[in-house]
C-alpha cells in the first residue's frame, strides 16, 4: 500500500510537467496582450511596446518557458504582472474561501444526496422515488447562477436571513464564517446533490437485489440496518467515485458561485487573471488545480480499499 502511495505521488511529477508545458504553450499562443491591458485605452502603441519589453513579454518562447520552469523548480510561482504580488501570496489569500466553500458544499451535498438516493432506491417506483428523480433532473438542468440568484433573492433580500455576499474568515468565528457560505453552498450543492443522489440510487438498486440482502432480511435485520449497513457500504465504491469527480468539478462550479456571492476565492482569481492575461497567475493556479485533481484521485483510489477490502494495490 505505502509503495503504491509513493508511486502515485511520484507519478504526479510527469503529470505536472505535461500540464506545465501545456499551460505555458496555450497561454503563449492565445490571443491577448497584458501590456495593452495595463497601458489602458489611451496608451500609445509605443507605450504598449515599452511595457511589453519591461515585462519580458517580447522575449522568445523558449527563454520565457525555461525561466518559468527554473523558477518553479525553486518553488517560485512568479509574480503577478498586474498586482506585482507573488503568485503564491495571491493563491494563499484565496485558498481559504475556496476550500471552505468546497468543504461545506461537499458535506452538504453528501449528507443530503446519499440518504435521498437510498430512500429513492428503497421506495423504487413510488411517488417518493419520482420526486427524488425529478429533483435530480431539475438540479442538473438549472444553472448554478440561476439557483444562486434565486436563493439570494429569497433568503437575503426578501427574508433577510442571510447576507447577500461576501466571505468572513473562519478565524472571525464559526457562525460569521458559516453564515456567508450557506447560500453559496446550497447553490453549488444542488448539482452535486442531483448527481450523487442518482448514482446512489442506481448503485443501491443493484445491491438491493443481491442474495446477501435477501439473506439479511431473512435473518430479521431491520430496514435501516439493511439499507445503511449492508447495502450502502457495498454500493459505496461508485458513490465515492462520483464524490471524487464532484470535488474536481467543484473547482469549475466555484468560479460561478464565487462571482455571484462575491467570495474572494481561487475561481474568481482565475477568471480575473484570464481576462487580464495575467500569465503567471493563470499558470500558478492551473498548476495548483492540477495537483489537487491528482491528489483527489489518489484519495478516492485509497478510499476504495476501505469500502471494499478485496481491492488491493
Amino acid at each position: 500500500m505505502w509503495a503504491y502511495i509513493v508511486r502515485r505521488i511520484l507519478a504526479t511529477i510527469p503529470v505536472m510537467a505535461v500540464v506545465a508545458l501545456f499551460v505555458f504553450s496555450l497561454l503563449y499562443i492565445a490571443p491577448g496582450d497584458p501590456a495593452a491591458v495595463i497601458a489602458g485605452d489611451q496608451a500609445s502603441p509605443e507605450d504598449v511596446e515599452r511595457i511589453r519589453a519591461s515585462l519580458g513579454l517580447d522575449r522568445p518562447y523558449l527563454v520565457r518557458f525555461g525561466e518559468w520552469v527554473w523558477r518553479i523548480l525553486h518553488g517560485d510561482l512568479g509574480t503577478s504582472i498586474f498586482t506585482n504580488l507573488p503568485v503564491a501570496t495571491m493563491i494563499a489569500q484565496r485558498i481559504e474561501p475556496t476550500l471552505s466553500l468546497m468543504t461545506v458544499t461537499i458535506l452538504f451535498a453528501v449528507s443530503v444526496a446519499v440518504p435521498l438516493g437510498v430512500v429513492a432506491a428503497w421506495k423504487q417506483g413510488t411517488i417518493i422515488d419520482r420526486l427524488v428523480m425529478a429533483f435530480a433532473v431539475l438540479g442538473f438542468s438549472v444553472p448554478v447562477f440561476v439557483v444562486g440568484y434565486l436563493l439570494a433573492y429569497s433568503f437575503a433580500l426578501e427574508l433577510d436571513w442571510l447576507p447577500v455576499q461576501g466571505y468572513t474568515p473562519f478565524s472571525h468565528g464559526f457562525w460569521p464564517w458559516l453564515e456567508n457560505l450557506i447560500l453559496p453552498a446550497l447553490a453549488l450543492g444542488t448539482v452535486y446533490i442531483a448527481l450523487i443522489a442518482r448514482i446512489t440510487r442506481a448503485s443501491m438498486l443493484e445491491v438491493l437485489n443481491q442474495d446477501y440482502i435477501r439473506t439479511a432480511r431473512a435473518k430479521g435485520a431491520g430496514q435501516g440496518s439493511i439499507l445503511f449497513l449492508h447495502a450502502l457500504k457495498n454500493a459505496a465504491v461508485p458513490i465515492a467515485t462520483v464524490v471524487g469527480i464532484g470535488i474536481a468539478l467543484l473547482i469549475g462550479g466555484a468560479v460561478v458561485t464565487e462571482s455571484v456571492f462575491a467570495i474572494p476565492g481561487l475561481g474568481r482569481l482565475t477568471v480575473d487573471a484570464i481576462l487580464r492575461r495575467d500569465y503567471p497567475v493563470i499558470q500558478g493556479v492551473v498548476l495548483l488545480f492540477s495537483f489537487v485533481y491528482v491528489l483527489v484521485n489518489l484519495a478516492i483510489d485509497l478510499l476504495y480499499t476501505l469500502f471494499d477490502p478485496r481491492i488491493r494495490y
Binding site: L85, L157, D160, G173
Partner: protein, 527 residues
Amino acid sequence: MQRRALLALGAAAALPAPAIAQPASNRVLKFVPQANLTSVDPIWTTATVTRNHGYLVYDCLYGLDDQFRPHPQMAEGTLFDDGGKIATITLRPGLFFHDGEPVRATDVVASLNRWMARSPIGQKLRSYTEELEALDDRRLRFRLNKPFPLLLHALGSVATPTPFIMPERIARTDPFQQIRETVGSGPFRFVQSEFNSGSLAVYVRNERYVPNPNAGPVSLTAGPKVVHFDRLEWHIIQDTATSTAALMQGEIDWFEQPTPENQLLLRRNRNVVVELMTPFMSLGIMRFNFLHPPFDNPAMRRALLPAIQQSDFMIAAQGPDPANWRDGVGIFTPGSPLASDAGLEPLRGPRSIERARQLMREAGYTNQLIRILGPTDILNPAALTQVTIDLFRRLGANIDPVLTDWGTVVQRRASREPLERGGWSITCTTFAGFEVMDPAGHFPLRGNGRNAWFGWPDIPRLEELRDAWFDAPDLPTQQALAREMQIVAMHELPFIPLGAVASITALRRNLTGRVPGFAQFWNIRRA
C-alpha cells in the same frame, strides 16, 4: 428585531466562543468600485480605478474645480517670472508622507519627472521644460523654453496618469515598471497588509493630513479634503446584481457604477439614492483604421454620416431614459468649456440609410470586407459595437464582426496589418469625459499618423491646431481653436462621435456631501 439578527443570537447561544459580526460602524465606509484594483501604481497604469485609489493615498500640487480652474493643494502658490518662462512653486508647510518623512521639493521633482514620461499633457510640458529643479526643501522651479499657459492646469490634471507626489526613492522607479511601495501624503493611508486584489482594499484616515484651507471651494479635486471616515473599504464585487442587492440590504454604502437595469431596481429602494456621478459624460466613438481600405478613403468615412443616429447607440448602451445619455455631441465632452456645435451639421437632420448607401457607392465601395472589432465584456463599447454591426448590415456592407473579450480587443486593435492578416477596419469604445474634454489627453483626436492612437490617422492640420491650443493664452482662444479642430475632425473623421453616456452612481441615502466628479472620499459623511 430582524430574523437574521435573531438567527445570529441563536447561534451565539449555541456556540462556546463565537465572534459575532458587529454592525457596520458609522466610521467605516464600504464602497464597491467600478473595477478591480489590480495595480496600485497610478503612473504605471491608466486604469481609472487606480487613479481613484491615487487620490486617496497621494496628493497633487494643484486641484481643479468643476470649471477646471486650478487651486493649490500641496502648493502654497506659484510665482511666474521672465514672461512666464520661470515658474517657482512653493510647497505649503506641514506636509508629511505616510512614513513620517516630510515632503520635500526633491520628492516633487522626481514625481513630476516620472509622471511627465507617461502623461500626454506631461509629455507636452516636458517638451517645454529646459530644467526642473528643487531650489530648497520647499521650492522647485520650472525653467521653460517658452511659456506654458496650462502649467498649473497640468499639475492638477485629473486625466490619467495623474501628477501624484510620491517620496523620491519611490518616484525614481522606471515609469514603465511598477512601484513596490504605496506611500503618499494624501488624506488616506493604504493598508497593504489587508490588500487582496480582486476582493478588498482598505484605507485608513491619515491623521497627519491637514486639509488646505486655501484650496478653493470643494469641487472636483479642489477644496479642503476633509475626511469623515476612519476607515474606507473597497469591496470588489464583480457581479453587478450582487452589488445591487448588497447596497439595497445596506451591506455596502456606495456602488460606484450600477448598470442601467440595476439602476431601475435601485431607484425603487427608498434607502438608496441614484444620481449622476459627474456632469461630464463619457464620449462614445466609432474609430476607423486609416491604414487600409475601405476607410483609408475619407469619402468612405464621410459616407456613413447620414446614417449615424447617435440616439440609437446611446439607447443601446444606457437604455431609453434620455437622462442617462446625450446625443448631438461633438468631439469634446459635452458641457465642458471646449464643447461646441461647430461642424456637427452632418450629424443633424433626417437620417438616411439610402443616402449613406449611395455615398458609399460614390466613394468606390465595391463590397470590400469591413472587419468590426469589439468587446463583449465591457458594457458601453459592447453596445456601441452591436449597433455598429447592425448599421453596416442595414447598409448592405460585407462585414466580419469580431466580438471577443477586452483583453483580445486591445491586442488585435494594435495590429497595423491588412485585414487578410488579422487587421481591422472599425472599433468602438468610450472615453471618460475627463480624458476628452480638451486636446491635451484626447488620444483619438491626434492626427500624427503612425504615432497616433490605434487607427493611425494622418491629419497634420489637427496636430497644428493642437500645438496652437497648448500655446493659447486664454480660454476664448482655446475655444476658438477647439471649434476649428472639431470642424477639421468632422471633415476628416478620425472617428465619429456616437453620443455621450452618463456615469450613474448609487449610494445609501444617509450619505451626504459627495463631491461630484468621480469616486472621491473626502467631504462625504454619514448623516
